[in-house]
């Protein structure tokens, strides 16, 4: 077993900063007198530190933004990270408040080693807008402690990992274990500094002082006792949220923050071998019902950049009713997804994808009624011999369907949406007439004689005379 611990110690702060909005920000907690528990780099630059009172922090930095700590959102974000980590290993364990453990032994070959997995996790975390500490070790506790102490490695564990564990400071013993603080104080009071020094103490004496939990914990960390972990089960639907450090009334920063959510969605989908054809982006306002942006793709898709691109088009068109406090992404109907294989020559899979992407982008920005696909209909009335098939999400098919090659009278390449009465100008008839009559069955009865005619500038027109009185002449198309 090889465990990779992913530690997010700055989670209280990062749930606000991952949206990419850079403000001096401090997170506060405590009741009745809240204190600053974390401050971002800009706030620290102004002199704000953890442990300050709110009044003191604001006196130092009047431009400081304060947010109360949101443990619920921290837990939700940790679950989001766990969902996302499903792309690297199916065996994930969640250790609140800030750690995710991955058992990566079985994934080493696929990703090319523990270092490669760690690199992929680091860059992926960056896309989620988070930063964490990583370490690998053969036991989950050791991995977590190495990450906490920034003393570990991310490659294959060194042969002497146990002696490195012995060198870790004593305080780590209280991290996510059953060891009581009083016991730690006792050990510190005896004059111990590292974990290794505990092992030199007589076990009987430790047990007498109610410190047997210490011995158990150390044994689990060293792999002498089994340490079973509860596996994390990803939720059946994706619904995650990003809080913004300050209300935003411009859509541009939202686009960036939404990208974080799409990165998480893509990894969640990848771990489920699924894709979505629609998802919902909710812009949460303080005193206003949430604005909902439906993002619909032409075909099932799990490409984060494509979803983010569509969201950008939607957001760019959006008039915000009120400043936005948070973003929420909901995808509740994952569909089975089979990626198209590329063939040996060229990349038709990619060409097809970009063809769908273009369709989606155009529909997102221009509205779906601005994009049309045409097809013919078997009807000899010109107005109904074609149809718009834009509602369905087709793709350019393979080599074009062969047209009906029947010999037929000439038809113009341009059709006027409505026949225009022939203006007072001279046209020369060159061919015709062709009688087109019919439509009693759907109340669009026509009786017309069509002619080819030469209009001004030698243009070839398709004109007709309505056979119903008064026999008006109309232009109906141009032979472009």
């Amino acid at each position: 077993m090889l465990w990779l611990a992913l530690l997010l110690p700055d989670l209280p702060l990062q749930i606000f900063t991952r949206g990419g909005i850079d403000l001096p920000l401090a997170v506060t907690a405590g009741h009745p007198r809240p204190l600053v528990v974390a401050a971002n780099a800009r706030a620290r630059g102004l002199g704000v530190e953890a442990g300050q009172g709110i009044a003191a922090a604001l006196a130092i930095a009047p431009s400081l933004h304060l947010q109360a700590r949101v443990p619920a959102l921290e837990a939700e974000t940790l679950a989001e990270v766990a969902c996302w980590a499903g792309a690297f290993s199916p065996r994930i364990s969640l250790v609140p408040p800030d750690a995710v453990l991955l058992e990566i032994e079985a994934s080493l070959r696929l990703f090319g080693g523990a270092d490669a997995i760690a690199d992929a996790i680091r860059s992926g975390l960056g896309r989620l807008g988070l930063e964490g500490a990583l370490a690998t070790a053969p036991t989950p506790l050791a991995a977590r402690w190495f990450a906490r102490a920034h003393a570990g490695t991310t490659g294959a564990p060194p042969r002497d990992w146990r002696s490195r564990l012995d060198a870790l400071p004593l305080a780590l013993l209280g991290d996510g274990t059953g060891v009581a603080p009083a016991t730690l104080e006792l050990l510190a009071g005896v004059g111990l500094h590292t974990l290794g020094e505990i092992r030199l103490l007589p076990r009987a004496g430790l047990a007498r002082r109610q410190a047997s939990a210490v011995i158990d914990t150390l044994a689990r960390a060293r792999g002498d006792l089994p340490d079973p972990q509860p596996w994390f089960v990803p939720p059946p639907q994706y619904a995650h949220r990003i809080a913004l450090p300050a209300a935003v009334s411009d859509t541009e920063p939202l686009t960036f923050a939404a990208r974080r959510l799409f990165a998480g969605l893509a990894a969640w989908l990848a771990s489920r071998h699924a894709a979505v054809d629609h998802c919902l982006l909710e812009l949460i306002h303080e005193r206003h019902p949430a604005t909902r942006v439906a993002i619909v793709t032409g075909a099932p898709c799990r490409d984060e950049s494509r979803l983010a691109l569509l969201a950008r088009e939607h957001l760019a068109r959006l008039e915000l009713a009120a400043p936005v406090e948070a973003l929420r992404l909901v995808a509740d109907t994952p569909l089975p997804f089979a990626p198209r294989p590329d063939d040996l020559f060229g990349h038709p899979g990619r060409a097809r994808d970009s063809a769908v992407l273009l369709l989606d982008r155009l529909r997102a920005r221009l509205g779906s009624d601005a994009v049309h696909l045409l097809e013919t209909r078997a009807d000899h009335r010109p107005e109904v011999a074609w149809a718009d098939t834009a509602t369905a999400a087709q793709l350019p098919a393979g080599p074009g369907s062969s047209a009906s090659a029947s010999v037929r009278p000439a038809r113009p390449l341009w059709l006027l949406p409505e026949p225009q009465p022939l203006a007072a100008e001279s046209v020369t008839l060159v061919d015709g007439p062709e009688r087109i009559e019919g439509g009693w069955w759907d109340q669009a009865d026509i009786r017309r004689d069509y002619y080819l005619a030469r209009g001004p500038d030698q243009a070839l027109w398709w004109i007709f005379q309505d056979l119903e009185p008064p026999g008006t002449w109309y232009v109906h198309g141009y032979f472009g």
């Binding site: 038709p348 060409a351 970009s354 063809a355 273009l358 369709l359 982008r361 155009l362 920005r365 221009l366 601005a370 994009v371 045409l374 013919t376 074609w386 350019p396 393979g398 080599p399 074009g400 369907s401 047209a403 009906s404 010999v407 037929r408 000439a410 038809r411 113009p412 390449l413 341009w414 059709l415 006027l416 949406p417 203006a423 007072a424 001279s426 046209v427 020369t428 008839l429 060159v430 061919d431 015709g432 007439p433 062709e434 009688r435 005619a453 001004p456 500038d457 030698q458 243009a459 070839l460 027109w461 005379q465 008064p470 026999g471 008006t472 002449w473 198309g477 141009y478 032979f479 472009g480």
Partner: protein
């Protein structure tokens, strides 16, 4: 001394000096440019002979200046539209009328590849640029409302990067505006033919306009004896044919026609004569 410092006394010497240079490094204005960009044959030999590289540049903005619909401007592009292309769109951005599906299908254009985009006027350039830059289109045809040189430049860059030909239809008045398009053609009707004047190309100015028989349907119309029948349309009183005029039109040799006979008694009005 370097060759550049040598004084060349005659044109012959100059020519021989040029001949020693590597091929393609010097372009003489009297010759058509032989660009190294990809080329799509226009399908018309006479036009290919006049175009640099021997066809439409596949990575460029091509301006077609045409004032009236119906001179054959679409038929000129039918060979391009008919080219088999796997899974790429033929995008039409803001066409002035409806591209008529039965006629396109009859001409061999794969309708399933046709993407008709009708944006608001302000979004036409955006849509055209997206279609070109996506690389998902085999060709893009666009009818922009009004476009400045900077906009043309952006389109040209997009076409260059994505190697997608963009045919831009503009009114003839746009000929006065400077344009970064490497190829600009003026299309006018000339009898049964389409007259193509090359306004700008990479090469010497074209001497005479080309006459192209772009319309395949013209086979029967071209053989018309002495033109057709003139009718005058008055706005108030819609004219109608005399039967003699209709008969004259019928004489021009058509494929399958329903011909209106002289006024029939109301009882037998539905009887029509089918002639071939």
């Amino acid at each position: 001394m370097s060759a550049a410092a040598t004084v060349l006394s005659s044109a012959a010497e100059l020519r021989s000096a040029l001949a020693t240079l590597p091929a393609g490094s010097v372009w003489q204005a009297s010759r058509l440019a032989q660009g190294n960009g990809p080329i799509i044959s226009s399908g018309f030999d006479a036009l290919d002979a006049e175009l640099p590289g021997g066809g439409w540049p596949a990575n460029a903005l091509i301006e077609l200046l045409v004032d009236r619909p119906g001179v054959g401007e679409l038929s000129l592009l039918l060979p391009v539209l008919n080219r088999p292309s796997s899974e790429r769109w033929l995008a039409w951005v803001a066409p002035p009328f409806l591209p008529y599906a039965p006629a396109l299908a009859a001409a061999g254009v794969p309708l399933s590849h046709l993407l008709l985009i009708r944006p608001a006027p302000a979004d036409v350039l955006w849509a055209a640029r997206q279609a070109v830059a996506s690389g998902a289109c085999a060709a893009v045809l666009a009818w922009p409302p009004r476009i400045d040189t900077a906009g043309l430049r952006r389109l040209q860059l997009a076409a260059e990067e994505a190697v997608t030909p963009l045919f831009l239809f503009r009114p003839y008045t746009a000929a006065r505006q400077a344009s970064p398009a490497p190829l600009r053609l003026v299309l006018t009707g000339a009898g049964e033919m389409l007259q193509v004047s090359i306004l700008k190309r990479r090469g010497p100015p074209a001497s005479a306009p080309l006459l192209l028989a772009v319309r395949r349907l013209q086979g029967n119309v071209a053989g018309l004896p002495g033109g057709g029948t003139d009718i005058e349309v008055q706005p108030e009183a819609p004219p109608s044919f005399t039967d003699g005029q209709v008969a004259a039109a019928r004489d021009c040799g058509t494929t399958l026609r329903m011909i209106r006979r002289p006024p029939l008694p109301p009882s037998s009005r539905s009887s029509l004569l089918l002639v071939r």
